[in-house]
Symmetry: C2
């Protein structure tokens, strides 16, 4: 291997790696006639001959120490969160989950009691989201715990929502509030550090009751099936949608790039919980950065014409307009509280 | 954690862990009306309302150092093999794969050139088996490479074959030959050891040409879509089927336990390639043990009435009868070359 070319993956961003893989795989692609949407959206979309319901497929892998940290996250919570995160991709297509497979790679340090806890969390989420676990696989792991979750779901062909349908003048909307999961992470990491520094000598029990909301947002996020039900009841279909798993800026960029449009975000409209503001104040940090770049909120970001927004907000309260779709030439910009307009260099964010 | 109960997973076998998980998850199981078969077969089987085709779902995770070894397996081969292995579960239900998702957890040591090789292998298999890769996920790994493959497939409700349908007097049949992948592994591990002992000082290039067949069986196994096509053309449906991913003994036991029957294996009938025999001779080992306990051959093991076997073998040559289904009370036994009957304690094999 010594003379072979070696370009470290870390030199490329995740999105570039995905594009890279897409290019390799497309060279040898077999018959794709029934594949409505392949690599590049929240789910793959597959048409079954003669059916009006499309099949959705998504899969995510979570690695201990990278995607979750057992030093502060209880295993039940890890199980619940990973299911929430995986299902969020199904909801982001305006679909409903149907079943999931869970694979685990187990290191020796994991006991059967710990597996119990993990699967209690997975089972609880399965019940909450009506998505039974129907199988999976177990292998050994030489280092940390690895959990892969694959979800199958369905969506009517008239309701399927891609990242790519946003139209100029559409409103950009978001559910819930943002930055809370990141605020929770800040608190948990602070407690972890305190514990590492002092835990061995003292009978340290962290008191997180003041931070319950943000810690819950980090440890056991809910994915937003409630608005998917509302869309169906109100007979509204968003023009484009993505779940906020990375962060508002990156996921907005994904949506506008897929749609070939620009966007203006209204900084002052971005929903932030009081509890999140309190944490940012405590750390003397800018809470807007938590909301814009924090990640892991698993809220839904979508676009629709203003008339549909008006119908929606009358019946579904937990949603706000945070921006407006512009022509592509306008790029990605944000109107700040002082009325100034910031421009983002989206080429730097890919 | 110090006072919490800790039962190491290694104390339990993989099948016991699966049963354990099944018990936890079933406590919180949501509506399972459309789940025809959940945990415990090669795939989950899901009914879509009003459809005669059932959906198949399977997912496997492969961990570097546990399920594959990059010191002797080229990355293209790893990619190809993992797809073969994942698709084998779809064929084991008598189904056809439709699409797959591939997740990778990447350690820093993996370059983009190495990712190219991995996905070239995956792409080649996608083409050979007409199963496009339609998505996936990338995350970082703090240790080795982890690859998870999820496959969706279909099978007609009249053709779906479980592990559980074997009937007394059915013939037990197997495709191809057994023990070859294990023989290949023996050769590769010997070369690896030689390389570790001498490689640094010498310009060591292993000459594996004498072992091409068995090395290929280990590195790039094919899964048996050919016999699935033959079943369809001949309008034959096996009564039970499983793929041999562990080994003949363990997978036979899975099949008879799921079916509630016993079995007699004919030792002399078990198909073994000459190349596999040659390797066992070289190592002065018993080739029957390679075939019975070797693993990773990805052949199909199935049962059917003798009249169907007669039709099948007239048109499909690469299959042999290796046993007969008996009542459950007879357990698992094997008739040896000398005419003796061995009895296996299947409770020890779970």
């Amino acid at each position: 291997m010594s003379k072979a070319a070696f370009t470290p993956v870390s030199d490329l961003s995740r999105n570039k790696v995905i594009k890279h893989i897409q290019a390799i795989v497309s060279k040898s692609e077999p018959d794709m006639a029934h594949i409505v949407r392949g690599i590049g959206d929240d789910c793959a979309v597959i048409r079954v001959d003669g059916q009006t319901y499309l099949r959705l497929s998504t899969s995510e892998t979570y690695v201990e120490g990278v995607d979750f940290d057992l030093t502060y996250a209880p295993l039940q919570h890890v199980g619940y969160k990973l299911v929430s995160a995986a299902l969020s991709d199904i909801y982001a297509m305006n679909g409903q989950p149907e079943s999931m497979l869970v694979n685990i790679a187990l290191p020796n340090k994991i006991s059967t009691e710990m597996i119990n806890l993990l699967f209690e969390g997975i089972g609880k989420a399965a019940k909450v989201y009506s998505c039974p676990m129907v199988g999976g696989d177990i292998t050994a792991s030489s280092s940390g715990l690895v959990v892969s979750i694959s979800v199958n779901g369905v969506v009517h062909e008239d309701a399927v929502t891609y990242r790519s349908g946003a139209a100029v003048n559409d409103a950009l909307c978001v559910t819930g509030d943002l930055g809370g999961a990141f605020a929770g992470l800040k608190i948990l990491l602070r407690e972890k550090r305190y514990w590492l520094d002092n835990g061995a000598e003292t009978n340290f029990q962290p008191d997180l009751s003041d931070y319950e909301y943000v810690v819950r947002r980090q440890l056991v996020p809910e994915s937003r099936n409630d608005i998917i039900t509302a869309f169906a009841e109100l007979n509204i279909v968003p023009t484009a949608m993505i779940d906020i798993s990375k962060n508002l800026l990156q996921d907005t960029m994904q949506l506008i790039n897929a749609s070939g449009v620009g966007v203006k975000l209204y900084s002052g409209a971005i929903p932030i919980a009081l509890e999140t503001r309190a944490v940012a104040d405590e750390f003397e940090e800018d809470v807007d950065q938590y909301a814009l770049q924090g990640g892991e909120d698993y809220e839904l970001l979508f676009t629709m014409p203003e008339k549909d927004v008006n119908i929606l907000v009358e019946h579904f309260k937990d949603v706000v307009v945070i921006g407006k779709i512009l022509p592509k030439s306008k790029g990605m910009q944000m109107q700040t509280g002082s009325g100034d307009t910031m421009h983002f260099d989206t080429s730097q964010m890919e």
